[in-house]
Structures are given as structure tokens and as C-alpha cells.
Amino acid sequence: MKTKSILICGVGGQGILTASDLLSDVLLLAGFQVKKSEVHGMSQRGGDVISTVRYGDQVFSPLPALKEIDYILAFEKLEALRNINYLSEKGKILVNDFEWQPLPVAAGLEKYPADTIEQLQKLAAELVVIPATRLANELGNEKVSNVILIGLLASRMDIDKKLWLEVVAKKVPPRFIDLNLKAFECGYNFKP
């Protein structure tokens, strides 16, 4: 099979690396060769964060090529747009309906594009907008928005749901298992 790739992006502190760990563990369990890349360092201080996962029969590079990504899973709207050049012509975007102003915007030095969703609509073969942050708050903890988004991604991928649930349960601290499984189902069953 041809190598497939997924890009997860957002703002430092949103649980992006946990989400991409989860995704790669599921893919490994499903029998694929998996390579994941992530960026550390300065980006943890409120900067943008990207992690990419490539999988298939034989994967060499941990980095995706431009115009190659099959899915962008964005935890913040503007970050989906920032990484749009990686998306293939047939690529799809799953985006959290959430706006986090970068500091230069908050300080009034730059503008947050008001038409972010419209721009994404034009560039993606399919766009799914999910209010993951709001749904997470409704579940009682904003932090599980990442698992809601992973649930949404899982619903679009051809991998046994059992594997996802197994990895989610293994990956989170015991007292948060129920909450995270609920979050996963919430994303998995989301109807736009």
C-alpha cells in the first residue's frame, strides 16, 4: 500500500503530541509500519505545534512531503490554514471550531483572518468542523478535546474501533479512562 500521512496541528499545550502518540500506537497495533515526527523546544511556549504520522507497508521518511497529507487534524482553525500547503489535492481537513488568538493578534499588531473556515473550505476536498473544545467542556474537562478529535479521525479511517479504544484506555491515567473513552465516542459519533 502507498504510504499515507496525517498531520496534527494546533497550539502548544493542546495535547497534540499525546494525540499523535495515540494515533501511531493504533497504527502499529493495526500492523502498519509507522513513523512519527514532532517538534519540541521553543514551540511549547504558546507557539504552533505540528506532529505528523506516516504509515504503510514500508515507510522511510518520518517527515511528510508538501501536498502529500491525506488528513489534517487541526486543534485550532488558524493552524489548519498555516499547514495547508502539506494537504494533497484530495486531502481532507478535520478542524476544531476554536479560535486561539496568537499574541501579535491579541496585542493588536496583526489580524486573525475572519474567513478562516471559508478559506479551508476552498482548499480541502472535504472539511469537517467540530466544536471539540465546547464538547470537551460539556464532558467536564477541556483537556479531552484532543481525544474527541482523535475519535472523529477514527470514524473516517478503516481501522477496527476496538484498537482505538484499547489504546486510549492504555494511554491515559486510570482515573481518566472513562472520561477519555466518552470523549472518544463523542468524536467518533459526531455528525456535522
Partner: protein
């Protein structure tokens, strides 16, 4: 054995465990930090510690090797500059127990001040260097390094790069080897590098290098793989992976041991193909050796591929004109998202005050380097670890000779001060310097993700440790009477101290204390809130660059309660008393006493 997805850094730690390493040291630095953080998973069999800097860490690992114990030391690429002195000596001395040195290079400078290629160090010190291409090889190369080190009596450098450190791929785990029993036996001729001994050691190093060159020709991880066309690719490190994507039909020679270069193996490879692409991150090192080995062959290397930044399959394709790189979106309307000081950061009030006093700072390496960015814009130099203090003194003295003065302070963090700030301060005191050094003491090495340091009161292994008190060290140890401590959340006190010390015709130190706000990550504090009636939209609070403050649709200041930690700094800078605690009863972060925190009150 089981297969696990590991990052390259986790794989190095796993390799260290399996190879029977019993001593590991490091100074944290991206992208190398997680190596030691993962080694402590095996702390029942490996002693692991943070050094004050890379030089001390390397010397300690060398000392461990003297006993026959297997030792590993890890650092980021620029850390090897600090450790270069023992690095070169270690090459002459050799290794009793294995000595494995990890350098994590940062092509693309994700979190560094340069993109030097540390394979040059291996060539300069005549030491073998291994270059893993993925996590499996990162684990394998530690085991190989231990073997090579003990067989050839040499330290071994392992060169990682950002993508091998921070990408995850499957690793097959193995059992731990039983390490040799350590015992200190004197070996004067090898380990005391008096000139008479060192001359003999140099001869031994040259002999060793010849043997290693022959070994490199037969090393099991220097591999030729068969292709369909007479095109060859010579590659090392992660560039090999990129090459496999771009040239599916080519012959490959992958070098996991690029130096000493396997000349004979390469010549055999060159005979199989008509032209050779050389793929490596940063500088043309294997390329240079390849050109020397086969001067007649067509070789395509850094004449085509970029010297700047990271390699990738796209870089290779674009360099060869194989891919249209026209972006789908020009990005012009997308505002940047630069990193910033955190909401509640105890450095913010200080940098804000520098702006008010119109003072530029000589900066250093740490979170506080972000004080250079808008809107604080209060740091106009940042050179290397410790250079804030020494650059300050150089500027002062050069201007003084011309009868000029300048308003400037040095800014350095606690960990960086321990790393290499103390000697600079000694220079100021000794040479009649008059400037002020500000030490931002947040009690932890924050930028790299909260590593303990000599001021934290804890070791890497989790043991309690004597906490070195910076103000005491400076006042009582160096005898600098003008040493003052102030709370990082007290805007006015910081400003008054700065004003006074900038006028003083003697050197002084201001220690600004307050633990890193992220140490309180789990606590819930009462946030600040804005009284919209009182807010005049003057935007002074926005000049703090606090990520929790923005403007609402009426242009009044708005505080994001989810991010706000209630440090109260914005309330202090508001001239109209428009900002106050949302809940007077608290809990308030700025009412936690510093002492309670430092004596173990971490939450």
C-alpha cells in the same frame, strides 16, 4: 522481543540500558534533553545526573570510564563546544570502560543559535562517529558504540539530528548485558596528559585511526543495497530515509559509521554505478571523503543540495527540479504564532520595566530570551550560554576607554548562571566592572521542560539535594556586597532597584526570584478581571505581552480566565485601577511565599 514505538532519544536510553551503561550525565538542551530523562527509567542500574554544564558532564563520564564502568554523556550540538576541551583530551586518553558521547545536532535551528555539524569534531579529534538513521539504529548504535569503544580503546561520538531525536519508529527491544565490575586502577601513561605522555598518546591515536578505517569498510551497519538503475546514493543519518523516497530504483550505500570513511567499501560501491548523489544533513563531510576516494566519478552533493536547514524528500526533489513547490496558499494573511513568555511568567514584570526605563539587556539562553520579542523587545544581544555577563563587560570597558557610558544590564537565568555565568561575574568583579547583572531565578531549567539544577533542591534521580542559594553565592562567596533579591511579581520594587543600581558606580547583582509558573500547573488560582467602566483602552497592560490579555470588541482589555494565573502584574501596571482579582479571597499565586515553595512546596 517486543517492538515498541520509541523516539530516537528514548531509543538511545534503551540502548544504554541494554548495553550495560551504568553512568550517564548530561546538561539539558533541545533536541537531546529526553535522553537522560528516559535513562532514569533504569535508575536502579544506571546512575544518571545533570552536570552544571556539558564540560563537567563529560569529565564526569570520563572519570566513570576510568573505573571500567560503561559511561554515556549527552548534549546538544553547541554543548559540545563547551565540552570540547575534555572531548579532545578524551580522544588521547581512550576508554577503559566504554565512553559514548551523544551530540544532538539541530539542522534548521528549531531551538538553537546555529546549525553546526558536529561530525567535524569527530574528524578533528580523530574519534569515530556513528550516525543513526532511525530509532532502531539509535538503539543499535549505542550497543555498537560500546563495542567499538572497548575494542579500539576510544571514546565514540554518536551524532543525532533533530529528526532522529524527535521522530518515533518501531524498535525491537533486547536484554541487558551484564556490565563489567568497576574498579579504579591507575594508568599514569594514558591518563596523565603531561606532554611526555601525550606525545605517545598522539601516536596511539593515529594508529587507532588506521585500524578504525579498516573496520569501517566491514562494519555491519555500513550497508550497500541493490538498485535497478546505475544511479548511486551515498547517505548518512536521516537523509538516507529521504533518499529512499526520492530514488526508489537507485543503489544505496548507507553509512552508519561515516568517519573514519570506509574508502574501500565506497570504491566498490562507486564501481557499480555511473553517478552518485550524496545526501547528508548540514556540511559535505562524507561527500568530501567520497570525492577524494574517487576523483573521476560524477558526484552530486552540496553543489546542488542546500547547506542551510534540514534535508527532506522535498528539499532533494526541489534541488533537482523534480517537484513543483508552488504553495497552495501564499500564507501572507496568516498571522505568525511566535512562542511567548507564559501567562504568569515571573520574568514579565522585569522585561516590562526595562521597556519603561528604556534599557536594553544583554541576553542569554533560556525562556527569558523571549523577552527579545514584541511587545517586550527588551533584549538586543544573545550569543551563547553565559555571554550576557561577559558581553556586557566588554561593551562597558570599550566605551569606558572612550569616555562613554551606556545604560545596560545582563540578564541570565539560574541554570545558565550555574552553567557558565559565574566565571563571567568573576571577571566583572575582578576587572572593576560597574554594570548590573540580573539573575532571573525561577528555580528550574524551564525552557527545555523543567529539569532540576543546582538551585532546585532535587537531583535528576529524584533525591533531595542541597540547594545552592545564588544570592548567598554571590554576596558571601564572591564578596559582592551590592547583591539584592526581589520578588518577580513586584513591578515597583524591581523598577526601583533597577533605577538605583543602574546609577551605581560599582558592580551589582539583582536576583529576581519566583518559581516558574508552570511548576504550579495543577493549581487553580483566582484570575484577574477587568472593570470595563474604569478601563480607558490605554493598552498599557497589553505591553506586558501576557498571552492571557487581549482586547474585546469595544477595545477594552480582556482577560482570558482559562489562561490567567492571577499573578497580579497587570493590575500593578494599570494606572486606572481597572484590573483586580476576580475573587479577593483567592487563592492567589503571588501570596504563596517563596520559601514555602523552595522548601518543597511544589505542586
Amino acid at each position: 522481543m517486543a517492538k515498541e514505538l520509541l523516539s530516537g532519544n528514548e531509543a538511545i536510553a534503551r540502548g544504554a540500558y541494554e548495553a550495560g551503561i551504568t553512568f550517564a550525565s548530561a546538561y539539558p538542551g533541545t533536541p537531546s534533553t529526553e535522553i537522560l530523562e528516559n535513562i532514569i527509567r533504569y535508575k536502579d542500574v544506571i546512575h544518571a545526573q545533570w552536570g552544571a554544564n556539558e564540560k563537567t558532564a563529560m569529565e564526569e563520564a570520563l572519570g566513570a570510564s576510568f573505573t571500567g564502568a560503561r559511561a554515556l554523556v549527552a548534549m546538544k550540538h553547541v554543548g559540545l563546544n563547551v565540552a570540547a576541551d575534555p572531548f579532545f583530551s578524551a580522544s588521547y586518553i581512550g576508554a577503559t570502560g566504554a565512553l559514548v558521547i551523544i551530540s544532538a545536532d539541530d539542522p534548521g535551528m528549531h531551538s538553537s543559535q546555529n546549525e553546526q555539524d558536529n561530525r567535524h569534531y569527530a574528524v578533528a579529534a580523530k574519534m569515530p562517529v556513528l550516525e543513526p538513521a532511525d530509532s532502531q539504529e539509535a538503539r543499535d548504535m549505542v550497543l555498537e558504540a560500546v563495542k567499538i569503544s572497548e575494542t579500539f580503546d576510544t571514546p565514540v561520538l554518536i551524532r543525532m539530528t533533530t529528526r532522529t531525536c524527535h521522530s518515533r519508529s518501531a524498535v525491537e527491544l533486547g536484554e541487558r548485558q551484564t556490565p563489567p565490575e568497576p574498579e579504579y586502577k591507575s594508568d599514569f601513561l594514558k591518563r596523565n596528559l603531561l606532554p611526555g605522555n601525550a606525545r605517545k598518546r598522539h601516536a596511539a591515536v593515529e594508529e587507532r585511526l588506521k585500524k578504525l578505517a579498516l573496520f569501517s569498510d566491514t562494519f555491519s551497519h555500513n550497508i550497500i543495497s541493490k538498485g535497478k538503475e546505475r544511479i548511486g546514493v551515498l547517505a548518512s543519518g536521516v537523509s538516507y530515509q529521504y533518499g529512499r523516497e526520492v530514488f526508489p530504483d537507485a543503489w544505496f550505500l548507507k553509512l552508519a559509521l561515516p568517519y573514519p570513511f570506509p574508502v574501500n567499501l565506497f570504491r566498490r560501491f562507486a564501481d557499480l554505478v555511473d553517478k552518485i548523489y550524496v545526501l547528508e544533513e548540514n556540511d559535505p563531510i562524507i561527500e568530501t571523503f567520497a570525492r577524494l576516494a574517487t576523483p573521476q566519478k560524477e558526484i552530486i552533493g552540496k553543489d546542488v543540495f542546500p547547506l542551510l536547514g534540514e534535508m527532506s524528500q522535498d528539499t532533494i526533489r526541489a534541488s533537482l527540479g523534480l517537484k513543483d513547490m508552488t504553495p497552495r496558499h501564499d500564507g501572507a494573511t496568516i498571522p505568525g504564532r511566535p512562542p511567548s513568555l507564559c501567562a504568569g511568567c515571573p520574568h514579565t514584570a522585569f522585561f516590562y520595566n526595562l521597556g519603561v526605563l528604556k534599557v536594553q539587556s544583554r541576553g542569554d539562553i533560556g525562556c527569558y530570551t523571549l523577552g527579545a520579542l514584541r511587545p517586550l523587545s527588551a533584549m538586543d544581544t544573545c550569543v551563547d550560554m553565559g555571554a550576557s555577563i561577559t558581553v556586557l563587560l566588554g561593551i562597558e570597558k570599550a566605551l569606558e576607554k572612550a569616555g562613554k557610558t551606556i545604560k545596560q544590564v545582563a540578564v541570565i537565568g539560574d541554570s545558565t548562571f550555574f552553567h557558565s555565568g559565574i566565571t563571567g561575574l568573576v571577571d566583572i568583579i575582578y576587572n572593576h566592572g560597574k554594570s548590573t547583572v540580573v539573575i532571573l531565578d525561577n528555580s528550574i531549567t524551564a525552557m527545555t521542560g523543567h529539569q532540576e539544577n543546582p538551585g532546585s533542591g532535587k537531583t535528576l534521580m529524584g533525591q533531595e539535594a542541597r540547594r545552592i542559594d545564588i544570592a548567598k553565592l554571590v554576596r558571601d562567596g564572591l564578596g559582592l556586597e551590592h547583591t539584592y533579591e526581589v520578588d518577580g511579581y513586584d513591578v515597583k520594587a524591581i523598577r526601583e532597584l533597577l533605577k538605583r543600581e543602574l546609577l551605581r558606580e560599582e558592580p551589582s547583582v539583582i536576583v529576581i526570584r519566583r518559581p516558574c509558573v508552570l511548576l504550579y500547573r495543577k493549581a487553580k488560582w483566582s484570575p484577574m478581571s477587568v472593570d470595563k467602566e474604569k478601563c480607558t483602552s490605554c493598552k498599557v497592560c497589553l505591553r506586558l505581552g501576557c498571552p492571557a490579555i487581549s482586547s474585546d470588541s469595544d477595545d477594552k482589555s480582556l482577560i482570558n480566565e482559562a489562561l490567567c494565573t492571577g499573578c497580579g502584574v497587570c493590575a500593578q501596571v494599570c494606572a486606572f485601577k481597572a484590573i483586580s482579582f476576580a475573587d479577593d479571597k483567592g487563592p492567589h499565586i503571588n501570596s504563596v511565599s517563596l520559601e514555602s515553595f523552595l522548601t518543597g512546596g511544589q505542586q
